[in-house]
């Protein structure tokens, strides 16, 4: 469960987030949509702990991840690390290493990694099929799946995805969607920023980000009607 309370953030003098608040329950998927540069990635960076907000509060399962004290923001890295898996837009992979070696960087337990590859989430992502391949020989979809696999190290209860389907073909998009569905069935919480309408299907709440603020919209809105909200 995620509780985001009145988060503000800015780059220099430009305010990006102006009091963002929302909640997401266990097994719930939240979609954040909006125009390019509206602050979706910034919000996810704050939730993932890679960007410090100006003010506000973020709680994961009731435990404070970001909190203000004496006018300053403090992060509980332990909570952020343990509770969230983060899939940024760019893939956090070392191109010269194999998929397996890349995964080994994030899975300290070799046995557990092998288990995940043979019958766990990594297997569900289909990574076992190309785990011995060098990363720079993988397709975009494969790389994205490995990125999700890395984010899933330690099986965090919250998954933060920043446009995971961008520049992927339909097959890859479907594979990722299937995987996320499985994750949600296991009561994981997903926060996803997206431009893909197909991904909105599995989301229980859809938020539009505009002028640094979030506005919940009808989850059935599609196409032009949704774009008009941007």
């Amino acid at each position: 469960m995620i509780t985001v309370e009145d988060i503000t953030s800015s780059y220099g003098r430009k305010k990006i987030l102006k009091g963002v608040s929302f909640t997401a329950m266990r097994g719930e998927c939240i979609a954040i949509v909006g125009a390019n540069g509206c602050g979706k990635s910034t919000l996810l960076s704050v939730l993932a702990g890679t960007l410090k907000p100006k003010s506000g509060e973020v709680l994961y399962y009731g435990r404070k991840a970001w909190s203000a004290s004496g006018g300053r923001m403090y992060a509980d890295r332990e909570i952020i690390r343990g509770m969230t898996g983060y899939v940024p837009q760019e893939n956090p992979l070392i191109p010269e290493l194999t998929v397996y070696d890349n995964l080994r960087l994030w899975y300290p337990d070799k046995k557990k990694l092998k288990q995940e590859l043979s019958q766990g989430f990594l297997n569900l992502l289909g990574i076992h099929e190309f785990s011995d391949k060098q990363v720079n020989r993988l397709s975009g979809g494969m790389k994205k799946r490995v990125s999700i696999g890395i984010a899933m190290a330690g099986m965090p209860p919250v998954l933060l995805l920043d446009e995971p389907s961008a520049a992927l073909d339909l097959v890859c998009k479907e594979e990722i969607r299937r995987y996320l569905q499985a994750y949600l069935e296991r009561k994981g919480t997903v926060v996803i920023t997206t431009h893909e309408e197909s991904e909105l299907e599995m989301c229980s709440k859809v938020y539009v980000m505009k002028d640094g603020r979030l506005k919940q919209v009808d989850r059935g809105l599609r196409g032009e009607a949704l774009v008009r909200m941007f």
């Binding site: 993932a48 890679t50 890295r77 952020i80 690390r81 760019e90 956090p92 992979l93 070392i94």
Partner: protein, 394 residues
């Protein structure tokens, strides 16, 4: 990539070697032949002659040829020798007992430059001897006059030290001043040290998977896991340092093992390395070797931080290595470069690296060791800090 690095190093080494073929010292262009006539077969005169022949100042410019009196004057006439010295009988005994028989020195009538020079020097030397003799007799007479014969030895000592100082000063005129382009190292050691540095720097091209910038998303993930940018930088450099150190060590082992099977390689190794048994020197040399790898790896790391991609970094490493080594006199000794270039080259990291490598190969030298360690330390800090800032900004 490692094979390419080695190939490049060999190529550069060959160019440098060809470029320095002309560095060998040329023999003196002028060497005067002087005829010597000894009028009697006297052992002491022969000994004195040998002594003079072997004096550095004399042997550098003169070549003594022992001749009979007739042969001597014939050679002088034919200008086969620039001067003829006729030594009288009982020469040494005469000097010792005060009889002082005259030594006759003949020069050709229309003397050439060498003869004229020699005449001047002879006259000057004779004058000096006259003065010295006058001083000695004068001192003796004075001591007798004032009844101070007991102080005579002190006065003679003073006269000796004065004349010797004057005479020794003149030696500087004859003494050959050797300006070694390779410093205190031999040519083999000098190029050994340069090759060592060049090899290490070129190894930097082979360690790109370890040292090149990681994708920003990867760095952010690491930061999320609690590994800060500073620690990430340090670990990346350290991995590169280990790789470069191990590759360098492996190359060293290959050379050593080759020396076991090929005698020529073994003798080259002995020429290259000056062994020491002093424990503190061994420790200092090990520290210098370690510091070389540290500095080179930090420099390579800096280049990887500076350049965005792999190709740019590899090219930059190659170009900078060769350029800096050239400016620091690693390919052609810096004394052959223009003065302005020398000033710049002496301050480059490669200058300190070559100096330190010279310490490792050519034996411990305190002054060089201290200078190089300070230089390398400063550059290590500078490049380390710059790398951190570049990577953080990137």
């Amino acid at each position: 990539m490692l094979a390419q690095a080695i190939l490049l190093m060999v190529l550069i080494g060959m160019i440098a070697f060809c470029g320095t073929r002309n560095m060998q010292k040329a023999p003196l262009a002028v060497r005067a032949d002087i005829g010597i006539v000894i009028r009697e077969d006297n052992v002491m005169t022969q000994m004195a002659l040998k002594y003079v022949e072997n004096l550095e100042s004399a042997s550098q410019v003169c070549h003594f040829v022992e001749l009979s009196e007739t042969e001597g004057f014939e050679a002088l006439r034919k200008r086969e020798c620039v001067a003829l010295i006729v030594l009288p009988e009982q020469l040494i005994e005469g000097i010792m007992n005060g009889a002082n028989p005259s030594v006759e020195v003949y020069f050709p009538e229309d003397a050439g430059l060498e003869s004229m020079l020699l005449r001047e020097l002879t006259e000057s030397g004779t004058g000096l001897l006259r003065v010295a003799q006058a001083q000695i007799y004068g001192a003796y007479d004075t001591a007798v006059q004032y009844g101070m014969l007991d102080r005579l030895s002190v006065m003679q000592g003073e006269i000796d030290s004065y004349n010797l100082a004057f005479a020794l000063d003149r030696l500087a005129v004859y003494k050959e001043e050797t300006v070694a382009a390779s410093g205190r190292m031999s040519i083999v050691q000098f190029y050994g040290a340069s090759a060592m540095i060049l090899f290490l720097m070129l190894i930097g091209m082979a360690v790109y998977p370890v040292m090149q910038r990681a994708p920003s998303a990867f760095r952010r993930q690491l930061a999320r896991q609690g590994t800060g940018e500073g620690w990430q930088c340090f670990c990346k450099w350290f991995c590169g340092f280990l790789c470069m150190g191990l590759l360098g060590l492996a190359a060293w082992m290959v050379i050593r093992v080759t020396g076991l099977f090929i005698p020529e390689a073994s003798s080259l190794m002995q020429t290259l390395m000056q062994g020491t048994k002093d424990a503190s020197h061994i420790l200092a040399q090990t520290a210098a070797g370690l510091m070389i790898v540290v500095t080179v790896s930090v420099l390579v790391y800096f280049i990887y931080s500076l350049s965005g991609g792999r190709t740019a970094a590899v090219l930059l490493i190659f170009l900078l290595s060769v350029a800096m080594l050239y400016l620091s006199g690693g390919l052609i000794p810096s004394v052959f470069l223009p003065a302005a270039v020398q000033v710049i080259g002496d301050k480059l990291p490669t200058a300190y690296l070559i100096g330190a490598a010279g310490n490792v190969l050519g034996g411990y030298h305190e002054e060089t060791f201290r200078q190089c360690m300070i230089g390398m330390g400063c550059y290590t800090l500078l490049f380390g800090l710059a790398s951190y800032l570049f990577r953080r900004r990137g």
